[in-house]
Subunit: 226 residues, 2 copies
DNA sequence: TTCCTAAGTCGTCAACTGACGACTTAGCAA
DNA sequence: TTGCTAAGTCGTCAGTTGACGACTTAGGAA
């Protein structure tokens, strides 16, 4: 019942095929970069409780060397989280949603196809879920504020095109946005975490979700006034 | 960077308030029951890597006693999983979805309100996600076959009422069902795992999701023939 | 009351694990 | 070639863990 990552440690002293030769020298910054990349992959697979020795083995370096770059495992995890989870949220990556030269359906399909492929990857999702479950809640505010803005944008733009007025209640308005955002997020969870089937291309499904959202909005918007 | 469950161990030898007195005697079956109940709660909070010593402390018994009931921690986990995750799927708990005396909207709202409250709890979701991430994939087939049947039922019944024919492609048909099922599952994940706001009652949101699903189905069904 | 049995605990083993002091060595500059 | 410095490793410590042999004791039956 040891952590599963243990099995990476090349069977310990078994066959001498891999004599664990000395790692090639590398500049500080470069090695640090390599460790962070490997760590993102490693912890997303084995969870935040993955062992530093296994991570070091995956990097092809000694465990001790990790501590030349990060004072503690927690510090390493924090940086992995900041880069892998928070990093992709930087910048104006959904400004195109307000480009009214295109139909809202087109805008949503293009945006979410990109979002699905760039952000809702196996690596991102697993790391995010491990962090959420650990309840460290490392930076829920940062992400949630961006998602909130995204949801507001989606509902406002869709309502505009549909010539309806969005719900007064901002909480309810955001929940309407989650109708679309949640369905697509769950598609990614199903496929990347639950290992569900990929028989229908995700782009087709995104189109379905977008059309469903737009078809439902005129009906569901009315509840807001209750 | 120890497992968080450690903090349950009543501060070790600190204040002598709790001298760790002997547990009260209890019949074998009853104690076993108590352990399993506590274990479900415990592992759902602290993850499958939670320590047996902490679990024992939460049960008010010695760690050794756990091994009078389960040969290994893995065996205990397997039984917890079978009861907590698989157990709720037994029986004909969604037969009412085909009761055509009620409108499909009513049937879906009633079913998913029940489903959300009974199954999509914090405990169930956390345990399920921890298991899915661990990739033990303890029994994905059993659950997925039931969900598949549920999805088929939903789309067929909705199509019947809407006087449209469901998609030919069974994979696509199920994906249409996921439009609804996924949105509601994700609502539960958001609220129970991501600690999202609960300002709008979940019953209101289920109504929104159901109406959105029914409004979108006539449009999205057409893609199946492509 | 006596005694027997099952409920329950103590203490310990061996492997695991984060962390780090002390040491070795590659590769460049003079 | 020499020698300095930063890259890299060894070995170990202390606290954790799953697991279990040996022991203690509650409480009902005779």
């Amino acid at each position: 019942m040891r952590a599963r990552s243990t099995k990476l440690k090349q069977d310990k002293k078994s066959l001498s095929k891999a004599p664990a030769k000395r790692a090639k020298r590398m500049p500080h910054a470069e090695r640090r970069e390599q460790i962070l990349t490997q760590a993102a992959e490693f912890f997303s697979e084995y969870g935040l409780t993955g062992q530093t020795r296994s991570l070091a083995a995956a990097c092809g370096i000694s465990q001790r060397l990790l501590y030349r770059f990060f004072p503690t495992k927690a510090a390493l995890l924090a940086e992995v989280y900041a880069r892998t989870i928070l990093g992709p949220f930087e910048g104006e990556w959904f400004g195109d949603l307000t480009n009214r030269d295109k139909s809202m359906e087109t805008r949503l399909i293009e945006f979410y196809s990109d979002y699905y492929e760039k952000l809702l990857t196996r690596r991102w999702l697993r790391l995010f879920l491990y962090s959420a479950l650990a309840e460290g809640d490392m930076a829920p505010n940062y992400i949630s504020s961006i998602i909130t803005k995204l949801l507001d944008t989606i509902v406002d733009e869709a309502a505009l095109e549909l010539k309806i007025s969005p719900p007064e209640n901002p909480d309810f308005k955001r929940e309407l946005g989650w109708t679309l955002h949640g369905a697509i997020s769950h598609l990614a969870i199903r496929r990347h975490i639950y290992h569900g089937p990929h028989k229908i291309p995700h782009t087709d499904m995104i189109k379905v979700y977008v059309q469903t959202f737009l078809a439902g909005l005129p009906i569901t918007t009315k509840h807001g006034a209750d």
